[in-house]
Amino acid sequence: MSAILQIEGLNKSFGGIKATDDLNIEVEENELHAIIGPNGAGKTTLISQLSGLQAPDTGRIIFKGENIAGLPAHRRAHAGIARSFQITSLMMEMSVLDNVALALQAREGHSFRFVRPARSVVHLREDGLSLLDTVGLAEKANMPTFALSHGEHRRMELAIVLAAKAELMLLDEPMAGLGTEESHRMVELLKGLKGKHTILLIEHDMDAVFALADRISVLVYGHVIATGTPEEIRGNEAVQHAYLGEE
């Protein structure tokens, strides 16, 4: 297997703060690669640069052999990258199914289609329902999104990422704010994805990380201080000192 994603010398500063500092990572195809690190290590900034919502100051992001660092955010989905948000980012006033259907719709070329009611496009509704079923939200399909619980919102985020059928899935703390049972459920869902997609997972929940990750990179002050298998990371002194030791 080859590296589907290579980040080379990525740098990003905000005013005086260096959020990303000469960051280098290689992610293998179909691996589940976790990024861990203390708060403020720059994990979400990294994801934002990968999804295109923020532009790096310098550096290269090589995805499937091409440097996408300059590619506008809305083109990255078509390039094969999907992202979930740490702070839930959904269309709250629309129904649950509408949200997922939109994600599916985004894959179908352009949406300059003015005549048929979107809700009567059968394949979008059916595929959407089946995605919702995967995350266990099928019965709530027609409810307005704002009526769902936080845990259900996190599952919606996952369903939306799945809708993209992306080659690279960027998951930003999918477990954020979840209780024990919901976390377990999420871990099971993510386990089901392993090996079929390349996943870059940012998480704080160490149990989940060690249960899911093929490899882990540790991010401290915007820089990767160690990359390796879970065992290697567990045994790495620098990592223990910088991060795990503080827990």
Partner: protein, 321 residues
């Protein structure tokens, strides 16, 4: 049957039946009022496509009304006084004027929208206002078309099968146009295109990440909205036969915004209700005093301070369009 659908049908039916009945009974005035109302309602409905559903607050929508009206006035003027024959624009034919109105409005929307839509929030509001004012000053400066004093047309648009000189037919044509406008906007809003626009209004970042070029979709919606208002402008020019830059003054844009907010921006029919309420209140107040702008202004301020969701909002929040 949901409330929005019922309200839509009731309002449209009432609007279609009551004025002709009053006219037949000898009350000509109400037919004229209704004609003006339906025309402004078309403009308000088109504004709400981008405002209520797209989140784009345009304070320059009256520019399209003006452009549409001049698209009728200018050819009619040249037909009478000569000039522009080689462009085919010296004519009273509605088959030239109406498409011209739509095209001129669409072009203006495309060019100004391409610039405005790179901004948002307050910038967007102010820039749309400024562009509308630009067109206002443009027409003020063109002496041939009357400048500040405006343009009077002798002959209304000539269309096969219908004579605009008959107030009942003009009303009927405008009314049918309004129904078509409502259906068109409803169709667009519920289509896949409409889903993108609504999604972009709610969560731009999410939509971009999903892969939608929101700028482009918004621009298309903006052009459609402008074109519809241009069509309404052509009707307006025919109705008043007096076409002046006043029609595109930013205060007129403010009135259109008010119709939308008053009626409710969350539904397609809301702006029509708003137009009805606006025109009725305007008429009632002006019979009491020539200073009716004072209570009117106070009322508008009250609506902003206390009226959540407009008239449609009284029927219940958060329903699908």
């Amino acid at each position: 049957m949901n409330r929005k659908l019922v309200t839509t049908i009731v309002v449209l039916l009432a609007l279609g039946l009551i004025p002709p009945v009053l006219y037949a009974a000898g009350f000509v005035f109400y037919l004229d009022l209704a004609t003006r109302l339906t025309i402004l309602a078309i403009a308000a409905v088109s504004l709400n496509l981008i405002l209520g559903f797209g989140g784009m607050v345009s304070f320059g929508h009256a520019a399209y009304l003006g452009l549409g009206a001049y698209a009728v006035g200018i050819p009619a003027h040249h037909w009478l006084y000569g000039g522009l024959e080689n462009l085919g624009l010296a004519t009273t034919s509605g088959l030239v004027q109406f498409p011209l109105a739509i095209a001129a409005a669409a072009l203006f929307a495309l060019v100004t929208g391409a610039i405005c839509l790179r901004t948002k929030g307050v910038y967007f509001i102010m820039i749309t206002m400024a562009f509308a004012q630009m067109v206002y000053y443009l027409f003020v400066s063109i002496e041939e078309y009357g400048g500040d004093d405006g343009l009077v047309i002798d002959t209304r648009s000539e269309l096969p099968l219908v004579s605009f000189d008959d107030p009942l037919q003009l009303f009927g044509f405008s009314y049918v146009s309004l129904v078509a406008a409502v259906l068109l906007v409803w169709m667009i809003v519920n289509s896949r295109f409409g889903m993108v626009i609504q999604g972009a209004k709610e969560n731009e970042e999410r939509m971009t990440t999903l892969g939608f070029n929101t700028y482009l979709y918004r621009l298309v919606a903006y052009v459609i909205s402008g074109a519809m208002a241009g069509y309404a402008g052509a009707l307006l020019g025919n109705f008043t036969t007096f076409i002046s830059p006043e029609m595109m003054d930013w205060a007129r844009s403010g009135e259109l915004l008010f119709m939308v907010i008053l009626g409710g921006a969350a539904s397609v029919i809301g702006p029509v209700l708003g137009a009805v309420a606006f025109i009725v209140i305007e008429e009632v107040l002006s019979t009491f005093t020539i200073y009716w702008h004072l209570p009117f202004g106070l009322m508008l301020m009250a609506v902003v301070l206390f009226g959540k969701g407009g008239l449609m909002g009284l029927l219940g929040r958060r329903q699908a369009a």
